[in-house]
Symmetry: C2
Amino acid sequence: MKRAQIFRLEHYLMRLMELKIRGAAYATSDALADAVGVSGSRVRQDMMALQAVGKPHSGYSVDELEIRIRDALDLYRPKGMAIVGCGNLGHALANAGIWERAGFTVRAAFDVDPAKVGQSLVGVTIRHLDELPGALADEPCVAACLTVPTEVAQTVANLLVDAGVKGIWNFASVDVKAPMHVVIENQRLEFGLMTLSYLLKLHRPPKTPPSGG
Amino acid sequence: MKRAQIFRLEHYLMRLMELKIRGAAYATSDALADAVGVSGSRVRQDMMALQAVGKPHSGYSVDELEIRIRDALDLYRPKGMAIVGCGNLGHALANAGIWERAGFTVRAAFDVDPAKVGQSLVGVTIRHLDELPGALADEPCVAACLTVPTEVAQTVANLLVDAGVKGIWNFASVDVKAPMHVVIENQRLEFGLMTLSYLLKLHRPPKTPPSGG
DNA sequence: GGGCATTTGTTAACTTCTTCACAATTTTAG
DNA sequence: CTAAAATTGTGAAGAAGTTAACAAATGCCC
């Protein structure tokens, strides 16, 4: 599955949750299409890929579709997550309530700040980064959330790879390198900001030219 | 310009900064291509769109290219930003050092928590959300960073639209609606997490089937 | 129950994006 | 100065993704 399709599935899922709240039992392809900005035709093709069958005149079962998408994204499998870097961003993410919905549980947290070590973050005790190798053996975490300063991101990423982590959700503004068997998902916050900058320029009402006004 | 191209430009820019640090004066199309995962040919087509001319046998001038990309994304224009919601995420973003690079300056900050009102965030005083309409008239902010709980995101977004904001960088897990002339850039953190979940599944060593082993 | 409106499943056409290929250009080496 | 190597600029081929279109199925209304 390519990234564009994953992205669409995530949007469908979001829309499904909205529909569920509204009490809908079925979702039409056009309703899902609207959540992403593609045609209903495209959605139906995605549904075929998921082997979801819809009812003519009704659409796709919201519940069944939710299961299929979550399954395709492997959201049901329980997965351990380590939070590495417990600054504001680490805290914000830890408490954001996003983990459970994706099957993750925060099982460990690390920082280098002695003032933070020993404190609790979403129920786990923050340990010093030096303890990471042993600690991750005790509390297996398939992935880690890397929220450390950009300067040390690569160094800490190496630590994580050595500790056996299989995926890194990277918030640093740098491409961290890792062996091929480790997945890196970069969450480039500054890219969002730059995109906003461009979109603002696009939407700015065109300047009235000096002549001809 | 489409989103995919914007995304590539952002990656080129990142790579250019790396090259700059290493003291390189020229960047070849293949070097830039490597930062995104496309062919050098695709890069050269992007360069044409930017009207950047390269030197055969050398590549593109790092400095000139940086200017062209930053200009295309409108990163040079000074833009005011309001931070709405000064929890951990708001704090983290405010202090992340990402604003200046995209031409933004944090000019205002708001929260509903009386304990936070009056405190300082990256040099600006946090005000109560009720003051938002008037405050944004004083300190013009073309955009706002929406880091409030998901439940109130739409309500606060409406406030921002009424206050004349032209763009919203939305961190809530919901699609906020706004008039067409207001740009919404959704930073869906949970999508990143779901994508990671899928990638982990993909990379998991395939189970040895029970038979034939 | 019959007819009509709605929606899926699926193939084909269309559009967009990406890479390929190669002449033209510049640098480097001897 | 000449030849070889590297790299751009660009048109065409190829791949991938998207929409269009329509038969088949289903539900709804009277």
